[in-house]
Symmetry: C2
Subunit: 248 residues, 2 copies
């Protein structure tokens, strides 16, 4: 039934465990074939009643795309500056240049400064078909995850951002996006400067219950050798702590 | 850097393209090891600021879990009955037993009737950390997709449902779920009766634009031999049409 993976094709579980957020790209363009493969994978995701309510606008190097990317870049810098202050990235452990918080701040600063230089930025759009609710995300964000995993399979990288939210009206006008279409995400894509690798999270036992909220089963353990993120729950309820993660 | 896939491990792109919605399960229990692997993969997903705001309750075979599963089963039947009527599954082409609509109705009917017999139902919970918005789904539904892909890699199958929405108060009380926690999804998991296989979607050209809304690039084409779903956009704006898809 299943075609065996090509010798250098990464396996499904290994791919899932090593798809990091990539925020630095080389200048190498992304090929049409890579984009087609990435969007094909994205659209294999499930959606409510198989409605397939996703649309993607690939912003590349034409004049309109460059203007849209600049709008996104300006928003990225504005939103990051607010967050940097509001979440006090430069206080506490953030004063030590080698702290996770300071490293995260440098990484985000560089990301925001260069946001529009990503070879491709994918604007993910959602055709809303009933009243807005939490659950509608089940029909659009699984396809974003497929997109990121497929990018990793093709030697690319990217990261899910919400920076489109800061320039919605301008993006709609510039790109001709109808009013009823929701702008769900902006995903920069390119060839990673640096690489993918194991993502870090909190220990599995903090996330998995059995039979009842709070009842952690014995089997909820990470594979041997798993390294954990310092950020995240429990007991770290402020962004300041949680934002100082591994950036994954 | 990357471990080569084991001989029988499915590749990342192949896995993404062949993870179907599985709604029929054998009686074979799901092992602890399989569950641990599936949750490990789920929690490798990205989330805003790496907050990892997901919690999972695995409902298996203990008394409380069986009661929770029954609540979900009752909801599934109630919600499906409403949808069957409201979306007129038994009218038009639905009168022909071999039509996609009639087949979908039979599949959903059987699914709802047997909902609680899935070996595991995963209740996906979300720790909301700011005002509700469309974008919060970006921090919970990618992990659901990882979960489904990992299930497929382990020889399991499942499907993302919203049936928990019909029994929220009862589930909270029974399972001790705090009020501030959002119930995002209910995902039955088990060994598939039948198998995975290529999912079907509308042609890629209907989903992908370049540089501007509505501008379809030449390269937005499916791989050779791709079979398309009849359901979905464009020009099929009612659930009646869209629901008669391939169930994937």
């Amino acid at each position: 039934m299943t075609r065996p993976p090509a010798p250098h094709e990464i396996g499904l579980l290994e791919g899932i465990a090593t798809t990091r957020a990539i925020r630095r790209f080389t200048d190498e363009p992304v090929s049409d074939a890579d984009l087609a493969a990435v969007f094909f994978a994205a659209t294999r995701a499930p959606s409510g009643s198989n409605r397939q309510p996703w649309r993607f606008i690939a912003l590349r190097n034409d004049e309109t795309s460059r203007r849209a990317k600049r709008l996104l870049g300006e928003t990225a810098r504005r939103m990051w500056a607010l967050k940097r202050r509001g979440d006090r990235y430069d206080e506490g452990s953030g004063r030590r240049p080698d702290s996770p918080k300071a490293r995260m701040a440098r990484s985000m600063q560089r990301f925001a400064e260069n946001f529009e230089s990503a070879p491709v930025i994918v604007l993910v759009c959602f055709l809303r078909y009933r009243e807005e609710s939490h659950f509608e995300g089940a029909s659009i964000f699984p396809c974003c995850q497929n997109l990121l995993l497929a990018a990793r399979a093709r030697g690319l990288g990217g990261v899910l951002t919400g920076f489109q939210a800061g320039a919605e009206a301008e993006l709609r006008e510039l790109l001709g996006i109808p009013d009823e279409v929701v702008l769900s995400a902006a995903i920069p894509l390119g060839h990673p400067e640096g690489g993918h690798g194991p993502v870090r999270r909190r220990p599995l036992r903090e996330f998995v219950y059995q039979g009842r909220w709070g009842e952690t089963p014995d089997w909820a353990v990470d594979p041997p050798g798993t390294r954990h993120a310092k950020a995240g729950p429990p007991g770290h309820r402020t962004f300041l702590d949680q934002g100082a993660g591994d950036g994954a």
